[in-house]
């Protein structure tokens, strides 16, 4: 245990009910605050990274190398007029971005950021994550339907079929991890990975990891699977009628979704807040590094992967997307489960 963790421990385990509630509220505020800050700068780095990959500078005007750009964008979006189309279903139209952001944000509750820091340590954490990620589809579908516009509607239809299809692959890809760790609790899964010298399920579950990441791109509507918002075909897809703050809620939800998917990948396949025990054996001082540093670094690697793929791959065609999901990823995930189960049974 290092200095930061010894300071935090007494706060993490209080005795009274008020203390428990206060600690949970503080944790929620902390997690939401840090995540929102990350979301703001994730937009900045996305533009920077893709800019440099395409041999241009990206945002440069606001602040040093455009560092204040997210703040300027935030102010602009906040003061923009909130337009609601006359033919729209007002209530559903207004609810849609909130539902989407809620689904993305509530997933953060069961993610173990480092040893002992988790808002809700529940036994079915992994299932909870799957449940919340499937709720995100409602935001898209509601937005697509309520806008009463053909582009939005097509985007909503595409997203509902896309998310339902890829959810199955994502769920099945995590079953291998569940079998290996004999648990659905994210914290236990991280601890189970530390039992192995390689310390990450990435190696025995490489197939599961690959399927999970492809599914994660589809579930967050990122390129190459951004068909629900495909700007060249559908203008902006399901959120074409949104403006100002409601538009930015969709934007924030997409980035939180990206961070959540990265966090699930890190927890289930990259050993969460820990590093492989063999590293610590070779270089002992590494044990003193706080777990949160490793966790955040691993998240950054995954978020960078999202940018990298966006700058590299063109968009899939819709029937190809469905064929890939149903005919390739789901059978592969099932194969992964069978092989993992047999190996587990033999040992």
């Amino acid at each position: 245990m290092n200095i930061i963790e010894t300071m935090i421990y007494p706060i993490l385990y209080p005795d009274t009910i008020i203390g428990v509630v206060a600690v949970i509220l503080v944790k929620i505020a902390l997690v939401l605050g840090v995540t929102m800050l990350h979301v703001a700068y994730a937009t900045y780095f996305e533009r920077k990274v893709i800019g440099h990959m395409q041999v241009r500078m990206g945002p440069m005007r606001v602040g040093y190398h455009g560092l204040l750009q997210p703040i300027a964008d935030g102010i602009k979006l906040f003061f923009k007029e909130d337009l609601i189309p006359a033919a729209a279903d007002r209530t559903v139209f207004q609810l849609a971005p909130i539902v989407m952001l809620f689904a993305a944000m509530s997933s953060l509750a069961v993610i173990p950021f480092f040893d002992g820091f988790i808002i809700a340590d529940i036994n079915v954490g992994l299932l909870y994550l799957l449940a919340m990620s499937s709720l995100g589809a409602y935001g898209l579908v509601m937005a697509g339907w309520a806008s009463n516009s053909k582009y939005s509607f097509l985007g909503g239809l595409r997203s509902s079929s896309q998310i339902i299809s890829y959810e199955i692959a994502v769920g099945l890809s995590l079953v291998g991890v569940m079998i290996m760790s004999s648990s659905l609790n994210p914290k236990e899964i991280v601890l189970a990975q530390q039992q192995h010298w390689y310390g990450m399920y990435l190696f025995p579950q490489f197939l599961g990891y690959f399927i999970f990441m492809v599914g994660a791109f589809a579930e967050t509507n990122r390129t190459p699977f951004d068909l629900p918002e495909a700007e060249t075909e559908l203008v902006a897809g399901y959120f074409v009628e949104y403006s100002g703050m409601r538009f930015s809620l969709f934007f924030v939800a997409e980035y939180v979704g990206m961070i959540v998917m990265s966090a699930i990948a890190v927890t289930c396949f990259w050993g969460g807040w820990s590093i492989p025990p063999i590293f610590i054996k070779v270089i002992p001082p590494l044990a003193a590094v706080p777990g949160i540093i490793w966790f955040v670094l691993k998240i950054y690697i995954h978020v960078f992967l999202f940018y990298w793929v966006r700058a590299t791959l063109p968009r899939y065609r819709y029937d190809h997307l469905m064929a890939l999901g149903w005919k390739v990823l789901i059978p592969l995930a099932l194969l992964n489960i069978v092989v993992t189960a047999i190996i587990k049974f033999m040992n």
Binding site: D89, V124, L130, S134, A137, Y138, F153, S161, I163, L184
Partner: protein, 172 residues
């Protein structure tokens, strides 16, 4: 006291939501209210320490089945639905059947008695975690009936695909 309040809240809200769902003119609104209903049902499962069932309730019903509902209903011509009569002509028969079933249930509730206690007490389930306890029962004690149920579902899926797939001309 707290458990009773918790249960009362859910009982009242679930009944109210059911009424709201069937009285909406707009079918998309009905489906969205149903989503709220499913959350309350999941919450009741949590209240019974059945965390696995609660999660599966959301994943399957809210995440898959209801999205498919929404998918189909969004294709309907809502303008036509909005002008349709809210009740069909035979509503008195429906009310009569509903009331008689309700009387039966109310009469029946008084006759309920506790069944014999099983192995899975609350403490046992808590110690083992609900997912493991459920898995043990399903895959060890009742493996055969479970597999039969899954084969029936598989037949239904194959049947649906056969019905939906139109016969194509040779080679098509």
């Amino acid at each position: 006291m707290l458990p009773i309040l918790f249960f009362l809240y859910h009982a009242v809200v679930i009944i109210a939501l059911s009424v709201v769902i069937i009285t909406r003119r707009n079918p998309v609104h009905s489906v969205l209210w149903m989503l709220v209903l499913f959350f309350h049902i999941a919450s009741l499962y949590l209240f019974l320490n059945a965390e696995f069932l609660a999660a599966v309730q959301i994943i399957l019903y809210a995440g898959a089945i209801l999205v498919l509902f929404l998918f189909v209903i969004m294709m309907l011509n809502i303008k036509h639905e909005l002008n349709a009569d809210i009740c069909i002509g035979e509503w008195p028969i429906g009310v009569a059947i509903g009331l008689s079933v309700m009387t039966l249930v109310i009469l029946g509730i008084g006759k309920f008695s506790h069944g014999p206690m099983g192995q899975a007490s609350i403490e046992a389930v808590k110690a083992e975690t609900h997912t493991k306890a459920l898995g043990r029962v399903l895959y060890m004690d009742y493996l055969f009936p479970f597999e039969i149920a899954s084969i029936i579902l598989l037949i239904a899926i194959v049947g649906a695909i056969v019905l939906a797939k139109k016969e194509k001309a040779s080679g098509g």
